[in-house]
């Protein structure tokens, strides 16, 4: 291969890595994530309130602009601040006519976080199945892990051998309940720090969602039959102490449900939210006895919703556009485009090209002009260098700098 060809290939390659490394560096140097406000639904004001604990005088502001002091804030948000109110001895007996007790509040409080990265992550293919009714308090580590693909197999950790007897038992239970192999996905919560374990929800080959758990060492397998209502995309387990539901179910149409357990059957109950993109958006739910505070973060901004806990219908909402990030503003001025290998919605690495808007082209023109004027060279070289910078910008400039024959010329080249 000719030297000139390699020179051009190296130039393009270095431009590529500079288009990744330089913006990454500039971002690291200037990145300041825009803070979204913390918004919570006041069960007394019946209104979404912005809470800013940095403001010691008046941490609470309603959307209509009314400000409240810290003590007022505690009282106006009793379901959020019940621990504080309890220690102050100010916990009311009833809210909205419902008698409240600390144990009730505790059992109804939950936090759920969903990150779309979970949908685009490589899966290990091994799962931990805890005993869902442990004899003693707390979850105990089992001595084995299982894989669920073409069949179910339990592998004993100490010996790294398949536990054929247990595997056969579960395989039989799955077969008997009509589970069709190979499995598409299985989702559970392997974190042992929880009160109880509900095992796994697994989508079989036929698109049926099965509930698989271990009760007293024996398999428990049920077809949830949710496919009659929706086309499941993902499931995210959440073991709340009131045991009202198993977790959150995301449909392919952007619908979000909780999977409720009632009379030994599984009922998907929809959350009253606009379509949710489970492959892109983040979801945080802070639930209490009366209301669920839902925030949905999309690349454009964050939407806040308050849902009634009992029916999951929407009672209030608010939208905030994404606060500006200084690193992005800088990037828009100096990098006409950039590459990233990571992204917030996928654990997979691959190059992603971002076009940063028109201003950076002004920088390109300026840089190209400076190079054309000040960097010595033949007419042809100057034309090449400045047009390359015009197209590739600072990344192209660095690539030219990194290779010979830019500043120091070889007249015979």
């Amino acid at each position: 291969m000719k030297k000139t060809t390699i020179h051009v290939l190296l130039l393009l390659f270095i431009t590529g890595i500079a288009a990744w490394a330089l913006p990454a560096l500039s971002r690291e140097a200037t990145h300041l994530p825009g803070r979204y406000p913390f918004i919570y639904y006041s069960s007394l004001l019946k209104e979404l309130c912005i809470i800013d604990y940095g403001d010691e005088e008046t941490p609470l502001t309603t959307l209509s602009g009314q400000k409240y002091t810290e003590a007022e804030c505690d009282s106006l948000l009793p379901l959020l601040n019940f621990r504080q109110l309890m220690s102050d001895g100010k916990l009311p007996d009833t809210i909205d006519g419902i008698e409240i007790t600390p144990p009730l509040l505790r059992s109804k409080s939950m936090i759920f976080r969903y990150n779309p990265i979970a949908m685009r992550s490589p899966r290990l293919g091994l799962h931990i199945l805890y005993e869902s009714m442990p004899r003693r308090v707390g979850i105990e580590m089992p001595g084995d892990l299982f894989r669920l693909e073409k069949r179910i197999e339990f592998i004993h950790c100490e010996t790294n051998r398949i536990d054929h007897e247990k595997s056969a038992r579960f395989q039989h239970a799955l077969d008997r309940r009509g589970y069709r192999f190979p499995a598409r996905w299985s989702s559970g919560n392997p974190n042992p720090r929880k009160a109880y374990d509900e095992g796994y929800f697994s989508l079989d080959h036929a698109g049926h969602l099965f509930h698989i758990k271990m009760v007293n060492g024996r398999p428990y397998v049920r077809d949830t039959r949710v496919h009659e209502h929706l086309d499941p995309l993902a499931f995210s387990m959440l073991e709340v102490s009131d045991k009202r539901f198993y977790g959150f179910l995301f449909g392919k149409a952007g619908d979000v449900y909780i999977l409720e357990a009632r009379d030994g059957r599984y009922h998907p109950v929809p959350l009253d939210l606009p379509p949710f993109d489970a492959l892109r958006d983040q979801l945080v739910i802070m639930g209490n006895l009366l209301y669920w505070n839902v925030s949905v973060t999309t690349p454009a901004g964050r939407s806040y919703y308050a849902l009634r806990t009992s029916t999951l219908e929407r009672v209030a909402e608010h939208h905030v556009t994404r606060p500006p990030d200084p690193s992005e503003r800088l990037a828009a001025w100096i990098f006409p485009f950039h590459l990233t290998f990571v992204s917030p919605d996928s654990a997979y690495l691959y190059p992603r090209l971002h076009i940063n808007g028109p201003y950076a082209w002004l920088t390109n023109i300026l840089l190209a002009a400076l190079v054309a004027i000040f960097v010595p060279g033949t007419r042809r070289q100057r034309v090449f260098h400045s047009s390359y910078i015009l197209i590739m910008g600072i990344a192209g400039f660095f690539a030219l700098l990194a290779l010979p024959y830019f500043i120091t010329n070889n007249p015979r080249k």
């Binding site: 291969m1 290939l9 390659f13 992550s121 931990i128 950790c157 790294n160 990571v342 997979y348 010979p404």
Partner: protein, 223 residues
Amino acid sequence: MTRAICYKEWIKTRRVFLLSALLFAGYIIYAFIHTGHLFRVEGAVATWAGMILKQTFLLPTMLRWLPLVVGILVSLAQFVPEMTEKRLKLTLHLPMPGHRILIVMLLHGIALLLALYLLSALLLARGLACYYPREILAALAWQALPWFIAGIPGYLFTAWACIEPTWKQRVPNALVAVVSLSACYLDAQPGSYLAFLPCLALVVLIAFLAPFYSIARFKEGIQ
């Protein structure tokens, strides 16, 4: 003639090759001691679960740098003697097309590295298969794969910088090499590199071409 070039490269690299083999052997032995320790102290269940819950890397972490260090060492052993007293002039004067001489030299180095890497990976996999199921082995392989891949462009970029005739140009070459190689060391879950492999292949390809660029400069007599 190809064999003669390989003979020369072997004479230059045999000591470093032996040293590298010892490094890998030492690592493998330590990896088994480490695994045994984990199983005794933490217990098998906690060790397996650590991989699932926290994605801990179950092997001693110096595996991150070992293939790269070995790649650089082999490259230095091959190309520093060529550049001392400009012996490369003698090499390129051999009655063989210059680019073929360099191809044979580079392939010799790559072959040594691949032999070391594959053998070590195989030994590790065979041994660890007693402790871990195939899913964990696959995850470990995925974690270590980009580090092993880094050894090859590491080797080639070192050759690029070595053969480059001026110190002034070696600095940017090294910088480009460091930035390119850092693409093999991104924080990632096991398997995250799946879609990135074509990019790493591109890095290897460019790194393979780069020494030819230095040779061309060397033959122009740039100082």
